[in-house]
Symmetry: C2
Subunit: 479 residues, 2 copies
């Protein structure tokens, strides 16, 4: 049955709206888990998409995310040359049932009633072939009108996942089963009994169903949500969405639909999966050293055991630690007992309540043209180190309130200030007055690095008027 | 006997050559423990000196320190207006016997054979009156030819201190005793037996003796050291000292003299003393909160117990820690089990072997005119934030290899570049080419802050030629 493709081509929906507070301080609300490079050079989102490309072309992929994460998600697609992928924005997060419903509505703008495959943006899957094989099996059942889930063989009585209980097999090879019961996170005793019974699977969070089937299920089990979405045209204006979306019930697809529906199928799949739910997962995915530690970065340790010790540029000295998670970033450090990693999200919530910038963004901010790092902020000034990639340029922009002093320290800049365009070499500086159109460009083959000293009564990022941009950022900011 | 002053006035010698690696990352080899503000606005050294001023005038105080620490120690004296205090430099550290011997030799340049009082620069003493009273008692015995020590009533079987065993009292009031035995750090069983016996005291590291008496003791018990120092004239040239000093035996006064001499006296004193030997001492000196934690700085904690959690500007999130010492500074963090604080010095030794800058200096460097912080260093450039105190100016200087771009971000600068002198206001910038005499000055009543971008093939601190200086730094650097 593995060659049994669905009749009409798949459409994949990646749910990428998670805030990823569990990976603080590596993740921030404006730099969520799905864009972290936790396992290699691709972000979690990029790796999720790359896994699907053998089956699904870019134009039949959509990423659903929160409007506040638009720029960071676009950057992920841009870096890969994946601008063809649809980006559908939620004005606020309303959990997975609403996100899937929104995707189903937008799909009306596409042809027919394709099978939608829904994926979390931030899971790890080691065995690609097994995933693709399972998708082929699932697509066939989805085409026949089932809500298809994918079940992972549990290796421990995990209380952090939902479980799927399988009933009778749907085929002689045992590749798919009717779903007997669908349960969110159990307690430890219940999880242990599931493991003992044997016909329980972890819910992978991957689903497949026809567009018309999921819309019917929403109408039946979540009528309020369905009613709200029905008022939307497929080519709705963002303002129309912003009007109805915040009022939709916030419920997961699992709770809202799959626990209640009777046409659910589970396809078991063993594909080296991890949801990378907490820092603890690192200690399972990476091979520990002889002391049980996973160590990365500028760590100098004496005698610690069973710890995750992770640092970036700064130096961290550790002595005699046991079962701790240590994660160091330029502006914030986490030190957490391994058994309390679930509390990291509570810590971040507290930071957010206290309005700490460290809950929201990093000192270094990625941009499509390169990146910048805020090095110093004081009353009436801000200092940034800015790196522009070869061949890239920032938008043509101006600021109302601030002047900028630029000193080129590496490479060679092409600078536009007002009507003047000129080269500025390393060790040269220029001055950009307020209310003056300007642009910074790197036409060379080497990175360009400048030190920017902003001065003025107001030096926040939102004092920017983008007049022209190589990326997608003019209309969004200025309309 | 407490009013029994010595016949000739006291001379105090502060031993300030310690490297203070135990307080890393707050201390660095170029910013040792004695200059830390651990307990208030004065450094340990400043507090040590301030305690003596009721008895000893500035001109009869000398600080002995390592030549490599000259600038940082001078700055401590300068900040207090204590330029009158003698600063005697050791070319290399050779432990306390050599330092005291050197002081005794230098004292020949002073009048007579005064009683020398020797103090560690980095201890904490709560009860000033008790200290001064003990000094008065000790001075009288020192004047009579004894080597006077000061003994602290032990409160626990501490294995980190030396002990003094008292013999028969020397007066009816029990204010001083003959010393029966002098012992360096015992093991735990021995320390416990000392506590049980009752006539043992902790060695405070404070000593008093006549100059001629200690020179005689050195000649008898440490002839090699005595011989070496004898070749020095009291007004020796630094080069003469540099020739003999490294060859002197490196031994403590306790081991070298006091354990061997028979004319030792102990004056018991109960003065709220702590040697602040490790980070653990903080947990004893500061009142813990209801969870047993001592917390200072930007710490967000959930459920930690019995920890020292200390941060400066950065944010540290802690969850479920037990018995840990966490010390965060802008460029380095220490996380250490409370029972292993003794290993901090080993960690720093390892850092030093790896040539890590974090073992030697802070990101922010104190200067007599203010301070600077290195914010960014790259190939061919360095970025500093520089703050100049009101009324202060940097030296008139030039650099061979680097140019400097200055942007004033707060306050108002008086800038000299070559022959030109002019005001530079906030939001204005100037350029200082290489090989050009220049000076930065703050004539205003407000702090002056500038961002300095250095560019050139070599941007290290030692590319500086000081042509004129308000402080003490011209001759030292240029001879």
């Amino acid at each position: 049955m593995s060659s049994n493709q669905a009749k009409n081509p798949l459409f994949a929906v990646i749910l990428a709206g998670g805030s990823g507070t569990r990976f603080w301080p590596l993740s921030r609300s404006q730099y969520p888990k799905q864009v972290l490079r936790l396992l290699g050079s691709d972000s979690m989102l990029q790796a999720t998409i790359a896994r699907l490309l053998p089956r699904i072309p870019l134009a039949r992929l959509a990423v659903v995310t929160n409007a506040s994460q638009e720029e960071v998600i676009r950057l992920e697609l841009y870096q890969k040359g994946w601008e063809e992928i649809h980006l559908w924005l939620e004005p606020v997060g309303r959990n997975t049932a609403a996100a899937v419903g929104l995707a189903a509505v937008r799909l009306l703008a596409q042809e027919g009633d394709p099978v939608m495959a829904v994926f979390p943006a931030d899971h790890y899957i080691r065995d690609l072939d097994r995933l693709l094989q399972a998708l082929d099996i699932g697509a066939a059942w989805a085409e026949q009108g089932y809500l298809v889930t994918f079940g992972l063989l549990p290796s421990r009585p995990e209380t952090g996942y939902g479980y799927i209980k399988a009933a009778e097999p749907l085929d002689s090879a045992g590749l798919a089963y009717k779903c007997a019961k669908f349960m969110e996170k159990p307690d430890l005793a219940t999880a242990a009994s599931f493991l003992a019974e044997g016909n329980y699977y972890w819910n992978s969070g991957i689903f497949m169903f026809r567009r018309d089937i999921i819309l019917a299920a929403l109408a039946r089990h979540l009528p309020e949500l369905s009613q709200g979405l029905k008022s939307l045209k497929p080519d709705y204006h963002p303002e129309a969405l912003a009007e109805i979306y915040p009022g939709l019930p916030s419920i997961s697809l699992d709770h809202g639909i799959l626990e209640r529906a009777d046409n659910v199928v589970v396809v078991p799949v063993d594909m080296g999966w991890s949801d990378l739910g907490t820092w603890g997962a690192f200690l399972e995915l990476f091979p520990p050293d002889e002391s049980g530690n996973v160590v990365q970065g500028r760590i100098l340790d004496r005698g610690s055991r069973d710890c995750l010790l992770y640092a970036q540029d700064r130096l961290v000295g550790t002595i005699g630690l046991n079962n701790l998670i240590v994660v160091d970033t330029p502006d914030a450090t986490l030190i957490c007992h391994r058994e309390q990693v679930q509390e990291v999200k509570d810590l971040v919530a507290a930071l957010d309540r206290q309005n700490c910038i460290e809950a929201r963004q990093h000192a270094t901010v990625q941009r499509p043209w390169g990146h910048y790092t805020v090095m110093d902020v004081g009353l009436g000034y801000k200092v940034k180190q800015i790196e522009v990639l070869p061949g890239k340029r920032l938008s043509l922009q101006m600021h109302r309130h601030r002047a900028e002093h630029w000193v080129v320290v590496q490479g060679e800049a092409q600078v536009t200030i007002g009507q003047e365009v000129r080269k500025v070499l390393a060790n040269e500086s220029v001055f950009v007055p307020p209310m003056t159109a300007h642009r910074l460009e790197n036409q060379s083959a080497e990175p360009l690095r400048i030190i920017e000293v902003q001065t003025g009564p107001y030096v926040e990022e939102d004092d920017i008027l983008r007049l022209a941009d190589d990326f997608w950022r003019v209309s969004d900011k200025n309309k």
